[in-house]
Amino acid sequence: MTVTAEKLVKKFPGVRALDEATLRLAPGSVHALLGENGAGKSTLIKIMTGVLRPDGGRIVLADGGEAHFGGPHDAQRAGIGVVHQERNLIPAFSVAENIALPAVPQRFGFVDRAAARALAKRCLAQLKVQLDVDRPVSTLSVAQTQLVEIAKALAVDSQVLLLDEPTASLTSDEADRLFTVMRELRDQGHAIVLVSHKLDEVFAIADTVTVLRDGRSVAEAQPLADLDHDEIVNLMVGRAHAVLELARTPVDRTATPALELDGIGTADGHEDVSLAVRPGEIVGLYGLVGAGRSELARAVLGLDKITAGTVRIRGEQARIRDVGEALRRYRIGYVTENRKEEGVFLTQPISRNIAVTVWRRLARAGLVRERDENSLVATYRERLGMRLSGPAQLAGELSGGNQQKVSLAKWLAADCDILVIDEPTVGIDVRTKAAFHELIVGLAADGLAILLISSDLPEMVTLADRVLVMRDHRLVGEVDNDHDYDRTSQEVGRLLHQAR
């Protein structure tokens, strides 16, 4: 089925999220939809699936008829399936029921549970995912919910399938299985849209590409074969994108470590974890999803229980009870991995989101002046290139990438000596990602000690001075990073998969 979104316009307070953007989909192809954070990709997808109503433009279906979607249901009936960027499942419902929700199999008004379970099993099998379909979704891991979400999109028999960053929290294995399914569907004549910031996977699977910039389509349904990596990036960014060489200041390895873990064990199962991060150093902590990296960070910050070993901060033994103490007494900041749940306050203005860590400093006689907060926002808006309409804008109105920047900004504002940064660039576009990298390196150059948790190996290689590899809650080795991708990645891979 061909679907064309023609000259869509969508206005939000302060921004034109879409400014006559056009997307032409042809059956039997995988179509990449690319653009920087805030370019309007998700907005476009939401309009095409009836979630948002456009302020201009139209959606034309195969038969030439114009579609008027009153809600998601209408789009679904028109044969358009979708996986949204954010997870949208009912926590208390089982996997089967969630997958079947858009088209509940029923008999005389009663839910046909057997049919629902069969449907769910079929969709999961398609993705080669082993999952108990009776489990409540609330007990699943992030990756598993992502997979359920994809299975749910497959459950509706749709001719057009829109996937908004479906691989953001998947392992490469899981992503590969998804790509296999996408190819099968393409070969059956479906039209598939893939939104992704991972250009490698885009080149691996997509046939054509549309690039959005500031809500406008700067490339419309071009064959991907005609373009190379740099050309795509230049289209997205709107100028020649120079891959910057990050100049690193050498680290004084004899200095007292800013953060030192010695034989740490935790209630979560970590055993004998020892590491040291010196001022000016970026230590990478790499591992597969579930290896226990975030949990280790949480334990160090007093959020989980440490059962063995010692933590030393600047050489002094430390007992950190909560994040507040970590911040104020030890000057440690923690940039969390789940921005929506833990990183930002969606219903609060950006100014408060950033100033929350420094109110103590800003307050005069216990009172905070808005002016001081706003100047903080101005500083970090500039420094991180945040797209926002003003300091009073609600964080929930920002695009995912910009939310991530807000989440980082609050720790930069807090002026820490030690930063633990967890998955800083998930869902972040190339340019912003580069800016983030520059920033992190700059922070290290300023003397901060940084513990970087990332599942993005190229990112690790770009940033880390040393890469520690964690497996099953233990450190299994260390790689001195000479920023040679091939060598470092091989080393890391060896550690990750070596027999114990």
Partner: protein, 318 residues
């Protein structure tokens, strides 16, 4: 077909509450030398359990979509008055009056739901306003006077028992089963819980949250109507004060019973068991001649204690 929710969980709220209820019963039986096991006492316990049970379910229905219904109590009273009025002053046969009483409750619930959806005003506030209105209407039916002496057949039925079980309690149990089936197996019931669990996700899956809201309020009103007709049949006399003391218990039962205030999670069995536990406190008061001041203290402690225990057990389980 195996339904996971039918598996008995030894960690869940329902189990804790069952243990609590049985324990309370045993203690009562032992300390009153078996007095609570006496037929009359059992009858009294279960006869007056019917209304708290149903009214708890009425509140639970809206909690399911994350709303509250402050009008449940007065709607119960109003429906009781309407039913009695239809029999006494209009002369309708009992069965027709009962149906009209139920329809009245459903209609009020429907209006509540429609107002919530059309105005987007929080249901708490909408039902606060309709509570005030229905409170007035309740006195409009028969002023402050009491209706009595309507349909002796109905009252005989309401006060009677089947195989030793009070009919009103049996009726309440049937209603509870119907509500459980609705929320567990009926498509719109599931959709209602989907809206409560994650409105955005429900909307993106093509579920109409508006319909869920209206439906939940309608069901809540209908159940309040059910409570109203139970009162009419059970007590043989009704006046405009009926329902005044139902609002807080309507919340206590589902909340102790493990229903999430945020929506999406309900428990029919938990709600009914919680109503039973609160009822046992009343019974204890009469049995031990406790000063009513202490009863309130005890109810407070029981509410908090029951929830705490469930919470702690839940935490220990994970």
């Amino acid at each position: 077909m195996t339904t996971p929710s039918l598996k008995i969980s030894f960690r869940g709220t329902e189990f804790t509450l069952t243990v609590l209820a049985v324990l309370a019963f045993v203690v009562l039986a032992l300390t009153t030398h078996g007095s609570v096991l006496h037929g009359d006492t059992l009858t009294a316990i279960f006869q007056f359990l019917a209304v708290p049970m149903v009214i708890g379910l009425a509140q639970m229905a809206v909690l399911g979509v994350g709303q509250m219904n402050l009008s449940v109590g007065v709607v119960t009273g109003f429906c009781a008055m309407v039913t009695a009025w239809l029999m006494v002053d209009v002369g309708l046969p009992a069965w027709l009056a009962l149906l009209a009483g139920l329809a009245t409750g459903a209609a009020i619930g429907l209006v509540n739901g429609l107002i919530v959806v059309l105005t987007r005003i929080n249901g708490f506030i909408v039902t606060l306003a309709t509570m005030t209105i229905i409170d007035g209407l309740r006195y409009g039916v028969h002023g402050t006077a009491t209706y009595q002496g309507y349909s002796p057949g109905l009252v005989r039925l309401g006060q009677g028992s089947v195989l030793g079980v009070p009919t009103v309690f049996l009726f309440a149990v049937l209603v509870a089963i119907a509500v459980a089936v609705f929320f567990r197996h009926v498509t719109v019931g599931r959709q209602l819980l989907a809206s409560g669990g994650n409105p955005l996700a429900a909307r993106l899956s093509g579920v109409s949250n508006d319909r869920s809201l209206v439906l939940a309020h309608l069901l809540s009103g209908l159940l309040a109507g059910v409570a109203g007709v139970i009162v009419v049949a059970l007590s043989g006399s009704v006046n405009a004060t009926i329902g005044d003391d139902l609002l807080l218990p309507s919340f206590a039962a589902p909340i102790i019973g493990g229903v999430a205030l945020a929506g999406g999670v309900i428990s029919v069995v938990g709600t009914c068991l919680a109503a039973l536990i609160v009822r046992l406190v009343d019974v204890a008061q009469a049995q031990y001649s406790i000063n009513p001041d202490w009863v309130d203290l005890i109810v407070g402690a029981v509410v908090l204690g029951a929830v705490l225990i469930t919470q702690l057990r839940g935490r220990a389980a994970t």
